[in-house]
Subunit: 343 residues, 2 copies
């Protein structure tokens, strides 16, 4: 994990962009502080609840890369802005208007990034003049400070080869940077252009105009990154330790972990670390059924099998603690303080 | 929820079997106490950590329907047995031996159910003489008290029609009850035969020889039960309230909940309650992309849309609190105390 943190920090330094790691992956202040210590400018969170948790842990520069909507949440946001440098993503004038009113009333300032839909078709304004208009609108309001644009090129996850990823990233990032150029020609100063996700960051960070990257998964990596070729086995820093509780037949073992210990949001199973010939066949809530071949058939009740999650971010979200291991010895136990902070 | 609890309690009373609800679904002591209040004999849990949480909340008759393996866990189990009536499932003589040694040393008694594999092919001893042998072995040991057999006919979830379910249940339960008859002929007293899961319980409870049922999901129900025809919409007591945070186009809305708020272990999406024309197209960690048709296109940023989870048990496991609503008013907030207690 420490190596992953340092490698990404060095990459950002070398390219000359700011690194703002997305802490949705680990949800753990101890790790966020290590990322900041390695040179990150601030952090990204996905939820207001995560921002509150990280602020309580002493983190002062937080970008909520999501829309914060509704009076109750906006009031929590202005309370947070009293003692913390906080920005949010917006993609509608109603939302900017609501943020501005609440911030003025509370006497605080909230940073605002216009979210641009660079091809994922989730949230975001379409590239081009609508981004300019929303930025112009934002600039005229008090309480909100226009900071720049944000885009999430998450559709690279659907591009299995490096060649395809290059094409996806090129189209996505150019749609953003050309919009920014147009905005600057029209007199809007765009301080930051924040993009990037682990499987694309080494491509997108290099586009002229990009000032900040927000990868998250890189801190742990997972089977998804292995499959995309963006991490090697030795870069996978997160595992779930399971115990064999039943050996009903020669080629079947059952572990004490299932869909409440491993996320299944990508429809794929975790991968056994180090033990060969082990394949997850099915998950129940608290059981995993393994098919054993070859030497793995020697596994017996009580043996521990370590698995690399298919998706680290959603798997961490199922657990309460991270156990830090160095050279085979437990060094620390960290509470995953922002786990479940989805409100 | 109260109606579901009462209906299942009445069913068990009418059939003349004991009800031992599985609390893995709700993981919430407040609900377990309501189930006991309605007449349940005790509770089932899937994990030792859940058992510890429920015991701390004053529940005294707990069956861990799973194998508890390894010295560390068995020591926790004997500690629990000091002040609580606790049983576990076993399917190997090594495990029974380890339980016996630890219980003798601690001066406690642990109830033991032999788990029988009635067709799911997960854990469990094959029906027939191996069950008898393990029961006989258990009966001779101190510290463990042979209580009976347990079987989980979970493969009914793969039987979409009632007709198929009947066939699956018939084969499954007969394999258990015929084993029990054979054991009794050979002089082993089988006090309890514990089976059942929500979509099969109304069939399996009626087999002669079955003494106890352990449904869990019925307390809330979910889209899975709707699809199987084992619950109606008005029986679905659990929803997740989401807020629309973005309206990027006329037929697209984005909600503030995704795969960290809704479990995806069955590969299916939740269903909007009450609002027509809403369909979940994709989930990201904290976003859900909705397709809107007809009148649902009037939905706007800030509107709340309630969803019935596809799978209640794994969805509850993502959240920290249940909000109790009666007649549209919030009546209580319950912490989901056994959430994440998978150790």
């Amino acid at each position: 994990m420490e190596r992953n943190i340092e490698a990404m920090a060095k990459f950002a330094r070398d390219v000359g962009v700011n690194l703002r790691p997305h802490v949705k992956t680990h949800k753990t202040p101890e790790i966020a502080h290590r990322q900041l210590g390695a040179g990150a400018k601030g952090i990204c969170v996905q939820k207001l609840g995560e921002a509150e948790t990280m602020a309580k842990a002493g983190i002062n520069d937080i970008f909520i890369t999501n829309q914060v909507v509704g009076n109750l949440k906006i009031r929590r946001l202005t309370a947070l802005a009293q003692h913390c440098n906080v920005s949010v993503a917006v993609d509608s004038s109603e939302n900017v208007q609501a943020l501005s009113s609440a911030a003025r009333e509370a006497g605080v300032e909230i940073g605002v990034f216009i979210e641009v839909d660079c091809g994922l078709h989730r949230c975001g304004v379409q590239p081009g003049r609508n981004v300019f208009r929303l930025a112009e609108y934002t600039s005229k309001l008090d309480g909100v400070s226009f900071r720049g644009v944000m885009a999430f090129e998450g559709h690279v996850y659907d591009a299995p080869s490096l060649e395809e990823r290059r094409r996806v990233v090129d189209k996505a990032i150019r749609s953003v940077t050309s919009t920014v150029k147009m905005m600057e020609r029209r007199g809007i100063a765009v301080e930051d252009v924040s993009v990037g996700t682990t499987p694309s960051v080494r491509l997108s960070a290099k586009y002229p105009g990009v000032t900040e990257v927000q990868p998250g998964n890189y801190v742990f990596n997972d089977v998804m990154q292995l499959e995309m070729g963006t991490a090697k086995a030795e870069d996978c820093a997160l595992t779930v330790c399971t115990t064999i509780i039943s050996r009903p037949s020669n080629d079947r073992a059952v572990i004490d972990a299932g869909s409440k210990a491993f996320a299944y949001d990508r429809g794929k199973f975790p991968k056994a670390k180090e033990v060969l010939g082990v394949k997850v066949m099915s998950f129940y809530e608290e059981h995993g059924v393994l098919k054993l071949r070859g030497s793995s058939q020697r596994l017996k009740i009580g043996d521990v099998v370590e698995f690399i999650p298919y998706h680290a971010c959603t798997t961490v979200n199922l657990h309460d603690e991270l156990v830090g291991v160095r050279d085979g010895k437990v060094e620390t136990v960290w509470p995953i303080l922002a786990r479940g902070k989805m409100k």
